[in-house]
């Protein structure tokens, strides 16, 4: 928690209530960017207060939300999302959504922050979990595909653009030919990929927020982490 007054470093928190937070920690440690990155595992409100940005990892969204509420973090997290950059992967992406389909009985708590509706486990159960190459133009070495690891992944079923919200930028879509054959959500699309269909979007940016329905932290490829730090976090510090 060395919080430099001179802003020579930047503190990136990783919500460490449940899930694959250690994997994000390893990825961030290896990054080399202009500023020194201080990594903080966030479990309490005090932890969150010293962060300039936050990563919400993969895990179980219901478990993470409950633990956040029990730790008194739900309100502070919702405030954090309003002002600071946040990246959600998989379960984290569900928490960043404005609404969710396929929620647990009785509904589940979200943080909001991105103008999307997601469906949980959209492609099916674990048997339909898969790996597929993705084209992501915004990344460094963009001609090299990014290896997407989709584990009981959520699907973006609707975008809700609004003039009052920051515009949304689609960073990557998955080709329908790469989806598990057993899934019934999206029909096979020969022209690949229908620009009106939000369901093939797997990486999305809105303002300083980033959403990925797959797990860059489960690969050895740090380009998404680099993108988040460079484009979302460092640029937000400049604009403040």
């Amino acid at each position: 928690m060395q919080h430099s007054e001179l802003r020579e470093d930047v503190t990136i928190g990783i919500l460490a209530l449940q899930g694959a937070f250690a994997e994000h920690q390893v990825m961030l440690k290896k990054l080399s960017v202009k500023k020194r990155i201080v990594i903080l595992l966030v479990r309490t409100q005090e932890d969150l207060e010293s962060c300039d940005a936050l990563i919400i990892p993969g895990g179980e969204s219901t478990t993470i939300a409950l633990l956040a509420r029990l730790a008194g973090l739900l309100g502070p997290l919702r405030d954090f999302v309003k002002t600071k950059p946040v990246w959600g992967t998989c379960a984290g992406a569900i928490l960043l959504a404005q609404s969710v389909e396929g929620a647990k009985q009785g509904g589940q708590e979200l943080l909001g922050g991105m103008s999307v509706t997601v469906a949980r486990n959209g492609w099916g159960s674990q048997v339909e979990s898969f790996e597929a190459p993705l084209e992501v133009e915004a990344l460094r070495d963009s001609d090299r595909p990014f290896h997407g690891v989709f584990i009981r992944a959520p699907v973006i079923i609707a975008l809700h653009p609004s003039p009052s919200d920051p515009p949304m930028q689609i960073l990557s879509r998955i080709s329908t030919s790469l989806l598990p054959r057993t899934q019934t959500l999206v029909p096979y699309d020969e022209d690949d990929t229908d620009p009106r269909d939000s369901r093939t979007i797997v990486a999305l940016r809105q303002g300083h927020h980033l959403l990925t329905s797959f797990h860059p932290e489960l690969t050895k490829d740090d380009r998404f982490h680099e993108y988040f730090v460079r484009e979302c976090v460092l640029s937000s510090l400049v604009s403040q």
């Binding site: 460490a16 209530l17 449940q18 899930g19 694959a20 937070f21 250690a22 994997e23 479990r43 993969g58 895990g59 179980e60 219901t62 478990t63 409950l66 633990l67 029990l70 730790a71 998989c90 379960a91 396929g102 929620a103 647990k104 009985q105 009785g106 949980r120 486990n121 099916g124 159960s125 674990q126 048997v127 339909e128 979990s129 898969f130 790996e131 597929a132 190459p133 595909p145 690891v149 989709f150 584990i151 009981r152 030919s177 790469l178 989806l179 598990p180 054959r181 797990h215 489960l218």
Partner: protein, 397 residues
């Protein structure tokens, strides 16, 4: 620790276990394609070792709870479980009632799948690959090839590479853990002593794994070859473990955890998360205890929070502790009758009364002492206890 004869002594998967046709070709865990249209260059692939072990990584820092029906599954989900384990009887009841314990009824498992959004696991007997094929067809998320059920094969475990669905397996030491990983397990847990509410065996197994990893991590390559032979582990997995200084897959604690403190203890001993079986739904207030254990796994290093969440949880799981335990004590040799005998022998001339819920698997027996009643709860059906007391001999008023 010696390896009992029921464990396979070899490290390779025996060919006899590769007959079933489900899933990927055997022995090719990474990027093993199963769907022809998606296996061309630049295609996608299902059921890779990456997504199998990846789901286990998503479960880290979480609690997986044993449930026997959809209602319990809902309670577990509400309490923050990161997954549920569907089974017909919790281990305490398997231990108490005896008989052959098998895979659960697929209908019950499907009801649980429909009731919750979190991953659903289910147990199969060791070596019973057809039970595993059935569970894969149902479309659950994880299979536990479990020693809690009655083994179907005393020589061979399931060849887990041949499935798209991932497997978790129990282990008591590093050699056993690495043998299971070599057979395709994407997730390891301690065996512990399921159904007892006694954490001592889980601690023993976790400490054994950690100390063997520490030993291996400072060995030279020559020593690692000898050590691999010694602990009956595949050399390449041992070498990777030594380099990583941890198991190459996620490692949870299981078998006998009953309190938030037990869960935090196992986390501090280096586990990535915990399984809780009988400890929740055999306790006084399952929802509250379940939630406390979930919090304990997140805040395992914060004694202040641990003290707050441990308060006022009602009765912990009782009576199934391993009394007079010797280390060989296990499911097949534990006899509640022996415990009853030793309780009665403390004061054979007192008046005894016993009580149990109708058809419950455990009964409480009490005797009058100067200070009031002294009671113990045993894993015996009331009828069983009645018979045992008649044999003593005791007669009921």
């Amino acid at each position: 620790m010696t390896t009992p004869s029921s464990q396979p002594s070899g490290v390779a998967t025996p060919p006899s276990a590769i007959h079933h046709g489900a899933g990927n070709p055997a022995g090719t865990p990474v990027l093993a394609p199963t769907r022809s249209t998606q296996t061309k260059d630049g295609g996608s692939s299902l059921g890779t070792f990456g997504v199998k072990s990846g789901l286990a990584q998503m479960l880290k820092g979480g609690v997986i709870m044993d449930v026997i029906n959809a209602d319990q599954a809902r309670i577990a989900e509400e309490a923050g479980a990161c997954a549920v384990m569907a089974l017909e009887r919790v281990p305490a009841d398997i231990r108490a009632n005896g008989g052959v314990a098998r895979m659960s009824d697929p209908k019950m498992i499907k009801e649980i799948v429909d009731a919750v959004t979190i991953p659903v696991m289910a147990k199969v007997r060791i070596g019973h690959f057809v039970e595993a094929q059935i569970l894969q067809a149902i479309g659950i998320d994880y299979i536990d090839e479990s020693e809690v059920l009655t083994p179907a094969d005393e020589e061979h475990h399931i060849n887990k590479h041949a499935f798209k669905i991932p497997f978790v397996c129990g282990a008591r030491n590093l050699g056993e853990a690495l043998r299971r990983i070599s057979e395709g397990a994407a997730f390891i847990r301690t065996k512990g002593e399921a159904g007892t509410g006694n954490v001592v065996e889980a601690v023993r197994h976790q400490r054994a794994v950690m100390s063997e990893i520490r030993k291996a991590s400072v060995m030279s390559e020559e020593e690692l070859y000898a050590y691999a032979k010694d602990i009956q582990a595949p050399f390449h997995l041992l070498k990777e473990t030594a380099r990583l200084k941890r198991l190459p897959v996620v490692n949870f604690a299981a078998g006998g955890l009953a309190t938030p403190a037990d869960a935090a203890l196992m986390m501090q001993l280096g586990c990535d998360g915990v399984f809780v079986g009988s400890g929740i739904f055999h306790s006084g207030d399952p929802a509250k205890r379940a939630r406390a254990i979930v919090q304990a796994v997140t805040h395992y290093n914060n004694p202040k929070i641990l003290s707050e969440i441990s308060e006022d949880l009602g009765d912990a799981m009782v009576g199934l502790t391993i009394v007079n335990s010797d280390r060989k004590n296990n499911m097949s040799t534990y006899k509640p009758e022996d415990e009853l005998k030793s309780f009665v022998s403390e004061d054979p001339n007192s008046k005894y009364t016993f009580d149990s819920e109708r058809d419950a698997s455990q009964s409480e027996i009490c005797r009058e002492e100067k200070k009031g009643l002294k009671c113990i709860t045993l894993a015996m059906h009331s009828k069983q206890m009645f018979v045992a007391m008649q044999v003593r001999p005791f007669w009921l008023p």
